[in-house]
Amino acid sequence: MMQSKREHERLGREKLQRIIDTCKSVEDRSLDPFLVDIKGNITTVKEYFPRWKVPEDLCLDAETVHHLASVTTLQSEWVKHRSTSLYTDPFLLEDKIRRMEKVDMVKIFVKVWRPTIELEQISLRSITEAIEYWDSLLPMKERWREFPLGKDETGTATREELISEQILRDKAFSEELETFWQELKKVATEKGEDGKVRYWSFIGADTYMETVQRAFMTSFLVTYGYATLEIHPLEEEMFIVPSQKLAPRTGSKQLVSIPISISAEDWQKWKKGEL
């Protein structure tokens, strides 16, 4: 008899916990609140309530009632929303969005968009900081010493090494470079500005490994004349400009090595849009 009573209480706790979990998922994931059978659940709560003696069980009971009340509020809001002009069937809208061209979406959005007008201003404090920064800056001549000038060293990694390091696939390096060049040209035409692409926009990828690989290939594109780097030091911006025709580097022109850091930290920053 005692055992059966305990078993019944255990079952009751489980049922209340299940009700709480269902309510929570409706609250947190914006699911249809009418998925919850309020009446049925209240009956369950009522059925077990007389059995609860210890504070833990009574708290569980109160929590269940609290969550059921929240879902009832959501149901009320749901009905209100459906009766307003803002109600749209999400599935219908989703389908429309998926079928609509990007350009059409932009044309529609600019019709209903009224961007804010604001003027940025520099504060006295920022000016002081800028002067301090300027005063502590080393002359250009000294700063450039950090980046030794010299000829590009292109022969340090063999193709076999690159394949074994999984940097290259088992494909001729020139073929790989050619494909990458075509990709750069395509990106520059479709998404670039004035035929050039931001360095990080082009090399950035979903994984750090892939990003390094793309940076590596890009360095070869620049070295072999498939593209040029455009650096704006003041704005701290770097662009890649694809050459339309292959322009081999002439020996008379002095080549400059530009060290570009592709650290995991930079990649994280770029992922967050801070770079």
């Binding site: 947190d28 994931r29 914006s30 809001e77 749901w78 929303h81 002009s85 803002l86 749209t88 069937d89 999400p90 219908l92 809208l93 989703e94 429309k96 969005i97 998926r98 079928r99 609509m100 061209e101 990007k102 350009v103 059409d104 979406m105 932009v106 044309k107 529609i108 959005f109 600019v110 019709k111 209903v112 968009w113 009224r114 961007p115 804010t116 007008i117 604001e118 003027l119 940025e120 201003q121 998404k191 950035g204 990828a205 979903d206 992922k271 967050k272 849009g273």
Partner: protein, 187 residues
Amino acid sequence: MSRRKAYYAGRLKRAAHLLFYKRHRKPGIKGWELRKALGSDYLKVLKLLDDYLRMLDLQVKTVFEEEKPAEKPSQDQLDKARFLITLRGEITPKEARMIGWRVDDIAGLAIAIAYIVSKRGKAPRKEVEDILRDKLPGWRVGLNVDRYIRYGYLAQDENEQLYLEWRTRAEVDQNALVDLILSHEKT
């Protein structure tokens, strides 16, 4: 110039300075700040400024903390509301690009807002990213959503739910956006 006119001319200039210059992290200024700087009849001053800005295709916009009150807003609601200047008329896609928005960014923002509106103002980030992935390159999706959050168009809670933020309420006619999308016919 009469004394009254001179009074309002001075207030008008002060209101323009307060509204145009970004003083805080967010653009615009709160109602209580305007009341303090312009006096209790600041709404009248703003009305005059709004009329003046009409010829420049600009307007004074009021963004309430919660939803726009159905009746006349109370003093408290006005105190907490944000007042800012927005464009009055439409812009072209070309102009939008000139102010620093790429086509991809605008399309993504439109999709995210429309989708969240249809979901009663709240949608899981994952769902929004899924629908964006249809139109934007995969690696840009997360970055763009973060950017919309940073600019104040969207907000995200600890359960990764996305909401519409103050900037959307200030700048976008949500009703019209959804209507236009639904009534769009492929040409």
